[in-house]
C-alpha cells in the first residue's frame, strides 16, 4: 500500500510525532450526504450597517431549519458576515470585532462566508478599496482556519440578492468541502432563478452529458449529478467503453462511446440525447489528457493532441451543443490549477486549461448563449486524489497534497460537487466564472 502522510499523522505514533513537531495534520473533511442537515450546528450571522444580505441569509437559514447564533460559541459551525454596505476601508473593523471572536470558537470543518459587492460597482475609490480588501481578508482567514475549515467570498451584484440562496447553501454544506479562498461572483441572472423542490435533489428531471466519464473525476461527476437527480449520459473514448459501461450502469444512465475530437462528436451527443431523453440541460466538458514534456523537447503530436482534446474539441462540439442545449441550461468546463499557475513540463496542458478559462468567460457573454439563459462556468481542480495522481512519485505527491490550507488532496467528488453547483437552476446568477477546487492551494493563488 502506498504511503499516505494524512493517514500516518492521524494514527498512533504519527499523531504524537506530528503534534510535537508542529507538522500539519489533515482533518477529515465534512462532505455532503443526502438527507443530512445543511450544517451540523448553529450559524452566526452578522453584518455591517443595515446588512441587507444578512437578512436574506437569516431567511434562508430559518427556512432550512438551521439555528441562528447571535454570539460566537463552540456550537457555531459557520459564520456569515455581510459587508455589502462597506463604504471605505475604515468600515472593515467589524471583521476584527465580530468575526475574530467567532473564529476562536468555530467548530471543526467550519465555514466562513463573507458577502460583499463587486468592486466594479463601487461609487468611489475608497469604496472600491474597501470592497477589494475583502479578498485579502477571506484568503487570510482560509489560511488561519484549522480543522478543515474554509473561507470564501461571495460578491453579489445589485439585482442579484434574490439569487444568493444556492451559493450560500453550497458554501455552508459539505458540498464545498475542498473549496476555500475563492471568490464567487453573482451577477444579474441570465434566466429566472429557480429553487429546487428538494435541495437534496437539485437536478431532478435534468439530463446531463458528461465527457470523460469512464474514470477518475469524470466518473465522480457522473455519479454526483445522478445522485442529485439527473439522468446522465456518460461519454468516453471507445477504448474506455468497458469502464464507461460500468459507470453508466451503476447510476442508471447510458453510455455513449466516442472520441470528443471526432468531427461528429457533438452531433452524436445531440442525437443520442434527443432520441433518448428529448434533449439535455447540462453538459460537462471534462474529457482531457496530459502529454507532459519540457517545451524545449516537446514534439508536434504531444503539443497538438493535448490542445485538441482539452480545448479544440470543446470549441467544435459547442457549435452544435449550444444550439441544442435546453433554455436555461448549464455548460460546465473542467480547467485546472495548471491553467492558472502553469506547471513545469506542461506548457501544452496549461495552455489548454488556461484557454478553457478564457473560453468560459467569453462563451458566457455570447449573445445567443445569454439569450437562451444558459450559464457557462469552469472549475479548476488542484491536487485531486485519482488513479493519475496516485502514480506521481511519493515526494512530489506529498508536496502536492500538503501545499494547501487543508493539508490534504481533494477527492474527485469535491470537483463534482462544484460542477453540480454550477448546474443548479438556482444558480443562474453565476456565469462566466472559474472556481478553484484546490483547498486553497498555494500555487497561483
Amino acid at each position: 500500500m502506498a504511503f499516505s502522510y494524512g493517514g500516518f499523522v492521524n494514527s498512533g505514533v504519527g499523531k504524537f510525532l506530528a503534534s510535537n513537531l508542529g507538522l500539519p495534520r489533515p482533518t477529515r473533511l465534512r462532505r455532503h450526504t443526502p438527507g443530512e442537515s445543511l450544517v451540523p450546528g448553529a450559524v452566526f450571522v452578522d453584518g455591517f450597517g443595515e446588512a441587507p444580505l444578512a437578512a436574506q441569509v437569516r431567511g434562508v437559514l430559518e427556512g432550512a431549519g438551521v439555528q441562528l447564533a447571535t454570539v460566537p460559541s463552540t456550537s457555531v459551525v459557520a459564520a456569515v458576515l455581510d459587508l455589502s454596505k462597506v463604504r471605505s476601508p475604515a468600515d472593515l473593523d467589524i471583521v476584527r470585532t465580530s468575526l475574530g471572536p467567532a473564529l476562536k470558537t468555530l467548530a471543526p470543518t467550519g465555514r466562513v462566508v463573507i458577502l460583499g459587492r463587486p468592486v466594479a460597482g463601487a461609487v468611489d475609490v475608497a469604496q472600491a478599496a474597501g470592497r477589494r480588501a475583502l479578498e485579502g481578508i477571506v484568503r487570510s482567514i482560509g489560511k488561519e482556519l484549522r480543522g478543515g475549515g474554509t473561507a470564501n467570498l461571495v460578491l453579489v451584484a445589485e439585482g442579484a440578492d434574490d439569487a444568493l440562496e444556492g451559493t450560500l447553501r453550497f458554501l455552508l454544506s459539505g458540498r464545498s468541502a475542498y473549496v476555500s479562498g475563492q471568490v464567487f461572483h453573482l451577477a444579474e441572472p441570465v434566466a429566472p432563478v429557480q429553487a429546487p423542490a428538494d435541495w437534496d435533489a437539485p437536478l431532478a428531471g435534468k439530463v446531463a452529458v458528461v465527457t470523460g466519464a469512464a474514470r477518475g473525476i469524470g466518473a465522480a461527476i457522473a455519479s454526483t449529478l445522478a445522485r442529485d437527480g439527473a439522468t446522465v449520459v456518460c461519454v468516453d473514448v471507445p477504448s474506455a467503453s468497458g469502464p464507461l459501461a460500468e459507470v453508466a450502469n451503476s447510476l442508471g444512465g447510458s453510455a455513449l462511446a466516442l472520441d470528443v475530437t471526432s468531427a461528429d462528436a457533438g452531433t452524436r451527443i445531440v442525437e443520442h440525447t434527443q432520441s433518448r431523453h428529448g434533449g439535455f440541460d447540462i453538459v460537462v466538458h471534462n474529457a482531457g489528457i496530459t502529454r507532459d514534456k519540457l517545451l524545449a523537447n516537446i514534439d508536434a503530436d504531444r503539443w497538438a493532441s493535448v490542445l485538441e482534446v482539452n480545448l479544440g474539441s470543446i470549441l467544435v462540439m459547442n457549435q452544435v451543443l449550444v444550439p441544442a442545449i435546453a433554455e436555461g441550461g448549464h455548460i460546465v468546463n473542467v480547467a485546472s490549477i495548471a491553467g492558472i499557475a502553469g506547471n513545469r513540463g506542461q506548457t501544452n496542458y496549461a495552455a489548454s486549461k488556461a484557454g478553457v478559462i478564457g473560453m468560459t468567460a467569453a462563451l458566457a457573454q455570447d449573445p445567443t448563449v445569454r439569450a437562451k439563459g444558459v450559464t457557462v462556468n469552469a472549475v479548476a481542480p488542484g491536487f485531486i486524489e485519482t488513479e493519475m495522481t496516485a502514480k506521481v512519485p511519493l515526494a512530489t505527491r506529498e508536496v502536492g497534497r500538503l501545499m494547501n490550507s487543508l493539508s490534504q488532496g481533494g477527492l474527485p467528488v469535491d470537483v463534482a460537487e462544484t460542477i453540480g453547483y454550477f448546474a443548479w437552476d438556482a444558480n443562474r446568477a453565476v456565469t462566466g466564472t472559474t472556481v478553484r477546487v484546490c483547498g486553497q492551494m498555494l500555487l497561483g493563488a
Binding site: 471507445p238 468497458g242 459501461a245 450502469n249 442508471g252 444512465g253 453510455a255 455513449l256 466516442l258 432520441s275
Partner: protein
C-alpha cells in the same frame, strides 16, 4: 404466419474477441456474456429494465453452466425478473437465438428480447475418461464406506486421463479443418484466392475500426478494445509464406492465416417491436425478416461438412421471393476462407444448383464488393456462439446507414453439417 408486428433490431454489443489463452484466458463464459450484456445495457439505458427474454448459448460449456444465460442476466443490470434460456446449435447458436427472439416478437409473445452467444476456447471444461466417470459414479452410489472402497478398487490405470473438448466431428473423427480441406479440394479453391479473402477481411476490419464503425458495437473488456486477432498490415506476401495446416500435398491450401483461430468472446443483440423501441426512444436499425436452417449428410452422403448454408439460402430466397442478387450486403461467416469461396462457387455452379438444390439453373454470382465489407471471422476471430450476434449487429448498422428497404443476407455454417441463414432489411 400472421404477423402482428415486425421484429426490429435496435443494436448490439460485443466484447472484442481475444485469441485463445490471451487476455480472456481466465474469463468464464458467464463473465464474458455478462460483460457483453452490461455494455448493451449501458448503450441503450436498460438498467433495471425487464426485457421479454434473453436467449443465448455457448458451444463449449461447463456442466455447472446449465443456466448460463439466466445466471448472466442475474449478474447484469437488467431487472432480475427477466427470463432467459440457453440454446446450442454449434456455430449457428447466436443467429438461431436471434431467429427465436425475432419470431416471438413477431408473434407478439414478447415486445423485446436479447439474443446472443459466448464461447471460450481458453477456459475449457475438462472431463474425465468415460470409463472413469462411470466407475466414480458407481463409487458415489455406494451405501457404506466399505462398499465405496470396494468399488474404488475397480479403477484401472487405463481409466485415468482427461478429455478436453476437441474441434472435431464425433461421427467422422475428422477436425473441421480436415473436413473443409476436402471441400476446398473438391471445389478447386486456390491458395491465392483464400489468402486474398483473408487479407481483405483484415483490411476491412481494420478500416472499420479506424472509421469508428465499432464505436457503438463493441465495449472494451479486460484491456482489449479491438479484436486481438486483427492484423491491419496483413499482406499476400505474409499470408503466402505460411505453411499449410490442413490437407495434404499440393492440395494443402489451408493455413493458419486463411482459417479462423480459436478465440474467446461474447456478443448480444437487442431486438424489439417498433412500439417498444419508440417508447424507449431507441432508433430501429433494421428488421429481422426471416431465417432458415439446413443440414446436410456429411457422414454417409458426399456433401461437405460446412456446405449446409448453400442449401439453406435458396430455400429462404424462394420463401421471400428474392434472388441471390437482391442484396446490398452479404455476410458469409468465414469459418475458413475456403468455406466462403466454396459456397459462392457452388451457387455459381449449374450442376450443383440443378441436381443438389433442385433449381432450374445456377443461383449466380454476387457482387464481391458487397461481401463482408467490414471484415469477418478471419480477422475478428470466431468464438463459436458469439459470431451470430457479431454479424447481426454489424449488418443491422450497415443497413441502417444504407437506408430503408436495403437488404442483407447472413450465412453461417455450423458443426454437424448444419447451416443457419437469415435476411435483414434496413430501417
Amino acid at each position: 404466419m400472421t404477423e402482428t408486428c415486425r421484429a426490429a433490431i435496435i443494436g448490439g454489443n460485443r466484447i472484442p474477441f481475444a485469441r485463445q489463452f490471451g487476455p480472456y484466458a481466465e474469463a468464464s463464459n458467464q463473465d464474458m456474456l455478462t460483460a457483453a450484456l452490461e455494455g448493451l445495457i449501458a448503450r441503450y439505458g436498460l438498467v433495471g429494465e425487464r426485457v421479454g427474454e434473453v436467449v443465448a448459448g455457448a458451444v463449449v460449456k461447463h456442466s455447472r453452466d446449465f443456466n448460463l444465460t439466466r445466471e448472466s442476466v442475474l449478474g447484469s443490470s437488467l431487472a432480475p425478473t427477466t427470463p432467459a434460456y440457453d440454446i446450442q446449435q454449434a456455430c449457428g447458436t447466436g443467429l438461431e437465438a436471434a431467429i427465436l427472439v425475432a419470431n416471438k416478437i413477431r408473434l407478439g409473445q414478447i415486445d423485446s428480447g436479447i439474443a446472443g452467444g459466448v464461447d471460450t476456447s481458453s477456459d475449457a471444461p475438462i472431463t474425465v475418461r468415460e470409463s472413469l466417470r462411470r466407475k466414480l459414479l458407481r463409487v458415489n452410489r455406494g451405501k457404506s464406506p466399505v462398499e465405496m472402497a470396494t468399488r474404488l478398487l475397480a479403477l484401472r490405470p487405463g481409466d485415468l486421463g482427461i478429455e478436453i473438448p476437441a474441434n472435431s466431428e464425433p461421427r467422422t473423427g475428422l477436425s473441421m479443418g480436415e473436413h473443409m480441406a476436402q471441400t476446398a479440394r473438391r471445389w478447386a479453391i486456390s491458395r491465392e484466392a483464400q489468402d486474398e479473402l483473408a487479407m481483405m477481411s483484415h483490411h476491412n476490419l481494420a478500416r472499420a475500426y479506424d472509421e469508428g464503425f465499432f464505436d457503438d458495437l463493441v465495449t472494451s473488456y479486460l484491456g482489449l478494445s479491438r479484436d486481438q486477432n486483427l492484423r491491419p498490415d496483413s499482406s499476400m506476401a505474409k499470408l503466402s509464406a505460411l505453411k499449410p495446416a490442413f490437407g495434404k500435398g499440393d492440395h494443402a491450401t489451408m493455413t493458419a492465416g486463411n482459417s479462423t483461430p480459436l478465440t474467446d468472446g461474447a456478443s448480444v443483440v437487442l431486438l424489439a417491436s417498433e412500439q417498444w423501441a419508440a417508447e424507449h426512444g431507441l432508433t430501429v436499425q433494421a428488421f429481422f425478416v426471416d431465417g432458415e436452417s439446413a443440414a446436410i449428410d456429411y457422414v454417409h452422403g458426399d456433401e461437405g461438412l460446412l456446405m449446409a448454408p448453400a442449401y439453406a439460402v435458396p430455400r429462404l430466397l424462394a420463401r421471400q421471393g428474392l434472388s441471390l442478387q437482391d442484396f446490398d450486403y452479404y455476410e458469409i461467416h468465414e469459418a475458413f476462407a475456403a468455406t466462403v469461396l466454396s459456397t459462392l462457387k457452388a451457387w455459381e455452379d449449374e450442376e450443383f444448383c440443378t441436381t443438389r438444390l433442385g433449381l432450374p439453373g445456377p443461383l449466380g454470382s454476387i457482387d464481391r464488393s458487397r461481401l463482408n465489407v467490414n471484415g469477418s471471422s478471419l480477422a475478428a476471430g470466431h468464438p463459436f456462439a458469439a459470431t451470430g450476434g457479431r454479424i447481426v449487429a454489424s449488418l443491422a448498422k450497415m443497413l441502417h446507414a444504407k437506408g430503408p428497404g436495403s437488404r442483407g443476407l447472413i450465412s453461417i455454417c455450423a458443426a454437424g453439417g448444419q447451416g443457419v441463414v437469415a435476411i435483414l432489411e434496413g430501417a
